[in-house]
Structure formats: C-alpha cells, structure tokens
Symmetry: C2
Subunit: 355 residues, 2 copies
C-alpha cells in the first residue's frame, strides 16, 4: 500500500506485462493507442512518477550526464571569468546534446573527495585544469570512463586533451615587452600546485610545481629573453599562490619592493594582471608609465579594465565547447584525440615603452 508505484504496479493493475507498460513510455509505437492511453491513465491515477532514472541508467548503460571537475573549489568557480567562459562553451555543447552537466564538488579531504566524485552517475568526465596530483582526478581516472582533459594535466593517450600553446603564448607576451624596450622583466604566476605557495621562486620550488602550464609559460617567457640575447636567469619570478586578484595585488607589492627596477610584469592570467595593476598603484607606480603589465586569457574584464589590458587571448568558450564535443564523441565510442587551439596577442594600453 505504502509501496512505491513502479511499472509492475501498473502492469498488475491492468493485467498486462511490465514490458508493455515500459513501452508505453519509451516506444509508443510498440503498442496499441488505446491500451497506451489506458496505461497512462492508470499511471496517473496511481501517482506513478515516470521511469526511474537510476534503474533505467543501470539497465541501458546511459546516464545522460557528463561530469565536470575543476581545479578550484566549486564555490569559486563562478567568480572566475575564465572558468565561466569555459562553462558557457560546455553548456552550449551539452544543451545541443540534451545531456546534463554534473558539477563535481571538490575535495574537502582526500577520502570525501573520491566518495562524492565516484558516487555520482555520469557517462564521462571533463577535467578543467586540475593539478596532476589531485586525488579527485585520480579517482576519476580510476573510474575508466571516457575522459577529456583541458589544459592540465597531460595524461598522454589515456584521455583526450584540449590545450593551447602556452609556451608560445608566453613567449609572445615577453617579446612584446622586449620590443617596447623593456629589459628588466618579472613574472608573476598564480597557482603552481595544489597548495599554492607565494613569494619569490627559486629552482627548488620551481621543480616542485605540479601545474604544467606554469612551467610551460615560464619556459616561454625565458625563450623570449634567450632569443633576444638576454640571460633568462635575470628574469624575476614570483608566485601569488592563487589565480586571484587579491593575492596578486599583495604579491606585486612585495615583488616591486624586492625588485624595484622591474619595468615590465608578465602575469599568468588577466586576473593576476588586474591584481598586479592594483598592487603597482599601491607602490605609487602608474600603469603603463612606470610599469607595463601583460595578462593572459583575455577575459571580458581585460578590455574594460583601467587601463585596458594587453594580453594573450585564448578562445575559452570554444575550448569548453570543443572539450564537451570531444567527450560526447568519446562516449559514443570515438578514440581519444588531442587538439591545440590558437592564441592571439592583444595589445591594449597596459603596456608602453619604459620611461
């Protein structure tokens, strides 16, 4: 009596088979119109809620959703213009495919993390820029579902991989400053590992980084110095500890105090660059007159920031859309693939020749 209404309940009530009731929902052509109407009527009368998604998913093998794992705590995902741009692209592809988008909660602790990530039913996973040693990522890889990784980490042939040429992008950024005549450059990174340390970077710390694109971009900045005949070791390297304007502001004041002769600052992202501009002002410097600042990403705010940021654009919405499409294809049986998206230097007003 208090029992849940299932297909069987309805079948019994009408004296038909459970399969027929199932067909009334899923294959209307497989039964007579009159019987179907009667089934639906009885279902309604009995308060049937429709075929159970978990049961159907178990039987058919399709869960109708893709999982998304982010670096950042889910709570901060929606603050970051870069991430929301990515999500826009993913949502676009997923709406077209009619599939749900499961945002996976980030690890409060190791144990809990894998629990949440593994206990949710999805057809595949999209991983956006997650540190290689993230426990949630390991849990996902262990699940063996179709997997698309964006930016980070590069798992080789085990997953599809969507990325940009970070090294070339960084090189272009540094070349821009060098072409303007800057000689004393600094780099301000955001997050370089799961636990972001902050402060000046030495070789030992650099070796411990688990964020691939931090290493790549730093290499790119150095490439530009080398190509210009300068000593790449002269580059001042700092990390803010997070891809966050507040942390970047703080780090910038420290950086400029430690290396007051720096005239050009290469930032890991536009969010970092925004913080850097604020930090520079706190030390009494004007941007770009006293300090040129270059960002990365070209988030919407970059164009409207004061001053508008010189940056390296990457097609973040396309990145999301493409990643989702690759995942949906992989779920349909396609083989993993690797795609590199184009970048484009955007020169605005946060850079100028040194004075």
């Amino acid at each position: 009596m208090g029992d849940r209404v299932t297909l069987q309940t309805i079948a019994d009530e009408l004296g038909v088979s459970r399969t027929t009731v199932s067909n009334a929902y899923n294959r209307p052509d497989a039964l007579g119109a009159e019987l179907r109407a009667r089934i639906l009527a009885v279902a309604d009368r009995l308060g049937y809620r429709g075929p159970d998604a978990a049961a159907r998913g178990l039987r058919t093998g399709h869960r109708g959703a893709i999982g998304l794992l982010f670096t950042e705590d889910l709570r901060f995902v929606f603050e970051d213009a870069d991430t929301t741009g990515f999500l826009q692209g993913v949502a676009d592809a997923s709406v077209q495919a009619g599939t749900g988008l499961m945002l996976l909660p980030s690890p409060p602790d190791l144990e809990g993390a894998s629990t949440a990530v593994t206990s949710v039913a999805v057809d595949g996973h999209l991983v956006f820029s997650v540190a290689a040693d993230d426990p949630a990522l390991e849990a996902i890889v262990a699940m063996g579902l179709p997997l698309v990784i964006v930016d980070e980490p590069d798992l080789g042939a085990r997953a599809s991989f969507v990325h940009i040429d970070d090294r070339a992008g960084a090189k272009a950024a540094a070349e821009h400053l060098l072409a303007l005549g800057h000689r004393r450059l600094a780099v301000l990174l955001g997050r370089t590992g799961r636990d972001g340390g902050s402060g000046p970077v030495d070789a030992a710390r650099e070796a411990a980084w688990t964020i691939r694109i931090a290493t790549e971009r730093l290499a790119g900045y150095r490439d530009a110095l080398t190509a210009a005949g300068l000593d790449p070791d002269e580059l001042v390297v700092w990390e803010a500890g997070a891809n966050d304007p507040d942390r970047a502001r703080q780090a910038t004041t420290e950086l400029l105090a430690a290396s007051p002769d720096v005239t050009g600052l290469l930032c890991f992202s536009d969010r970092v660059a925004i913080g850097a501009c604020q930090g520079a002002r706190l030390t009494g410097r004007r941007v770009p007159e006293d300090l040129s600042v270059v960002g990365f990403d070209d988030i919407p705010r970059a164009a409207t920031w004061d001053p508008p940021l010189t940056t390296i654009r990457q097609p973040i919405v396309d990145k999301g859309r493409l990643a989702a499409r690759l995942l949906l294809a992989a779920i349909d049986g396609a083989a993993p693939s690797r795609v590199q998206l184009p970048i484009e230097p955007i020169v605005r007003s946060s850079t100028a020749p040194p004075t």
Copy 2:
C-alpha cells in the same frame, strides 16, 4: 572474457561472496584487513573500476546529486551575474554536503526537454526563477522528488519556496525617486513570460504575464505612486523582452522617444538598468542629470558601473545557499518550508533630483 568486471567477478576469482567484496569498498571494518587487501589487489589486477554509481544509486535510493533548472538557456546562465551569484551559494552548500550539482539542459523543444530532465538521476530539484508554464518544470513537478523553488513560480505547499518581498522592494525603489522629486516615472521590465515580448505594456499584455515577480514589482511601483497621492495609471510601463542589457538599451531608446518627459526610470534588474543607461545616452540624455535610473538586485557590476547604480539589493548568494540547504533538508525528510529573504535599498549615483 571481454565481460565487464563487477563485484561478482572479483568474488568468484577469490572464492568469497559478492557482499564481502562490496564491504571491502563500503565498510572496511566489516572484514579482515588481510582479506580486504587481497580483494583490493585482485580488483586492481582485474581492472575493476569501483562500484557502479547507477547500480549503487538504484539499490540505496541515493543518487548523490541535486538537479538545477534555470529559466535561461543553460548557455546564458554563466553570463548573468545574478545567476552566477546564486550558483555560488548553491555550490557552497553542495560542496559542504558533498553532493553533485546537476545543471539541467533547458528545453530545445517540449519533448526533448522532459526527456533530458527526467532521464538524469538526482535526489531532488532546485528551480531558479522559471516561468510557471515551463514544460521542463512540469516534468520536474511530475517526478515528485523533493523540490525547492526560488522566486518563481509559487507552487504553494507542494514545494519549498525561497523568495524576497519583491513588491516592497519595488515600492522602495519608486519611493526613492518620488522623494527626490520625480513625478513622471517609467518602468522597464525584462522578461514577463516564457516568450518575451517587447514594447509598451497595456492591460491585456499585463494580464498574460506568467512571471510572478514582474507582476509583483509592478504592483510595488504602483503602490508607491498611490501612497504619494499620484495616479498609478500614469506610470509608463515597457518591457524589454529579456533580462538583457542589449534588449534594455533598445527598449529604452524607444521608451524615451515615446515618453520624452520621463525623468525617472525604474528597472527590473541591474542588467536592465545598465542597458537603460546606455540607451539614455544614445538619446542624448545624461544619467542622472537628465534621467534617474534605479536597478534591482545589486549585482557586482552595479557598484562599478558608470555611474554607480542606485538599486535594491537582494542577498543572492545567500539565496542560493539557503535554497540548496532547504533542498538537502527536504531530501533528508524535512517538510517543505517558505523563506523570505531581506532586501535593502542602496543609493548610489544613478539617481538625482530632476532638473
């Protein structure tokens, strides 16, 4: 041989029962440490992917995720500061609870909509400001899972309900303009139904609205006029057709052309207000000197917009957090409840006495 590895495969291999293997994953204390280690080793060797989420969900009745349905096409959800603020709150609560967040794709068409929404396994649904006649909403209501509705629509006792006092908020906005001395006011609404019409609003159109808060806020604006001894029918009412700056800009130019003597504009949202400011400028008006503009919501951009917007703040992050908590409580068996969140008028520089 190509068969999938399940608990049974491992159980057979070791000559133990399936339950014991299950316990190795879910109740480590229920078996000996040595046997558990052997089970895990065999599982690893055989390439077992861990307990299947759909099967576990079916058996336990817990799906480990909550579904989110939005008004807007999922593609635009991440553009809207109001929605992302809400998502921040939801994510906060959901990370704490360790549950997945399933973003539900919006209806491309009626048939497809319900399919996607109903074929995904969740423990309950969160509905954010969806028109009462939305087919996806109807499908969700029919599923009979725990349900929390935010803003729209009010389903009475069938679901928990989180909202603000829209009418009082609107009244406060209008009172502010009246107190400044404005007498000729206009209202610019965003979306008033599933298919947003745009243009001047008459009684017939108003009667067809399916967005509760449009009706509520308009009533609030009129309340203020009435309370000030003015004729509420003198209020010029337009709708932009969407909660979107571009549409609002266009509508504002038309509104000001049709009613050039308007000195105060009450906007449905800050996004509409931002578009309205742009539209006013297009007609050669300055804000606030020639036209005072009031928004609603107090999104982050409201404070940094030029001019900073006078608006009615609502605690959007709290709204998301509270809604998610109510849903999680309902999933745990709590009864539906209704909560009204506080609002607060914020006076900035987009309003001034008429000149």
